[in-house]
């Protein structure tokens, strides 16, 4: 659980705990991997749906 800095000048800034920072880093990595995988998948689906003819130059 995050802690709230109770310093009157801080306006209630939320300070993340070490565990929360670690979880956030793990989430960022997971999202990055998922986006990279989806880019590759959509590229492959596009090529598959267009068929092999897409690689041949027009005559």
């Amino acid at each position: 659980m995050s802690a709230i800095d109770r310093n009157p000048g801080s306006q209630g800034v939320v300070v993340l705990t070490a565990a929360q920072l670690k979880a956030r880093r793990q989430r960022n990595i997971a999202i990055g991997l998922a986006v990279a995988f989806l880019c590759a998948l959509f590229y492959a689906v596009t090529i598959a749906k267009l068929g092999p003819g897409v690689l041949q130059p027009p005559s």
Partner: protein
């Protein structure tokens, strides 16, 4: 510090629960998702068209993500009763690892992404069916039926039965009799499966105020209905063979496994006292999963492996 400031700060803290990736995976109900993927795969491979493997994989992934989104939205809405039931109190939201609004945003985003992806990679009929399945599970089952009627899992079971229809539609662009037969198998399998669970978890559901059949109509009525639904399930399980879209191997396995499950359902009806009663319900619950898996595994094997290898006409 004013009360308003304190409550705002508390809200900020709870909104920032921020779980690890595995908590988000748990939010997707991976075990339910695997069954959905498997039954949808049966719909894809049994369809009388060839789907490019990459397109088929992408379509199945979209269906899986749609199922996961339904699970996340279900956990978001049911967080109050999940905190009461022993079976569900360790889930990410009641245990405080993920904040409710995070689960809601996660579920809605995945649902929209899954429907759009299926529409783009397969067709918009399949995408519509997936959207309907998600909406039916979340709105009709979770928000409405689950807490209001003991017939909740009978009607709500339609959502769990739709994945093979979605898979078939993704491959062919239509809804056919064959895909509706696959729907019927899961639809009639659902009541005996969940009521067997409810028989030995009735205390849990009762404490949470969920009107499962044993809590509302009593165990004897539940046992009878389990038996009657299983009687219906045996011939429905045979329909793919009877209408000619599955082979003899499927017919033999569906009949043998169906009769075995019927025997377990009969024991549930017969053994009404003490440990034997709980044991019979647990056996039926466990075997029902294997039964459904067997039927769909044969369909996947016949159409996805044996037919392409030319071992089956």
């Amino acid at each position: 510090m004013s009360d308003i400031t304190v409550s705002l700060q508390r809200a900020s803290v709870s909104d920032m629960a921020g779980g690890a990736p595995r908590d988000y995976v748990e939010l997707l109900k991976p075990r339910v998702m695997s069954l959905v993927v498997f039954t949808a795969l049966a719909g894809v491979v049994a369809a009388p068209t060839h789907m490019h493997p990459i397109v088929g994989f992408a379509a199945l992934l979209a269906i899986a993500i749609g199922a996961g989104a339904s699970g996340a939205l279900n956990m978001w809405y049911d967080r109050d009763i999940d905190a009461i039931m022993t079976r569900t109190r360790a889930r990410p939201i009641p245990s405080g690892r993920i904040a409710p609004r995070e689960a809601l945003a996660f579920g809605l985003t995945l649902a929209a992404f899954a429907v759009f992806t299926l529409g783009v990679v397969a067709n918009w009929l399949a995408a519509f069916l997936l959207a309907f399945t998600i909406a039916f599970y979340v709105v009709v089952y979770t928000m409405w039926l689950k807490r209001s009627t003991p017939q909740n899992i009978v009607i709500g079971g339609a959502a769990g039965a739709l994945p093979p229809v979605v898979g078939w539609a993704a491959a062919t662009g239509v809804v056919s009799v064959e895909s509706l037969v696959l729907f019927a198998i899961i639809f009639f399998w659902t009541p005996p499966h969940f009521w067997a669970l409810a028989l030995f978890k009735s205390g849990d559901y009762g404490r949470a105020g969920v009107p499962m059949l044993p809590n509302v109509k009593g165990a004897p009525r539940t046992r009878l209905e389990i038996f009657l639904y299983t009687i219906l399930l045996v011939p429905i399980g045979l329909l793919p063979y009877l209408i000619g879209f599955e082979g003899r191997a499927y017919g033999v396995i569906a009949l043998g496994s169906g009769v075995f499950m019927l025997n377990l359902a009969w024991r549930v009806w017969r053994d009404t006292e003490g440990r034997a009663s709980d044991r019979a319900a647990k056996q039926l619950f466990g075997y029902s999963i294997l039964h459904l898996f067997l039927l769909f595994a044969v369909i996947v094997a016949e159409h996805g492996i044996l037919q392409p290898l030319g071992l089956l006409s």
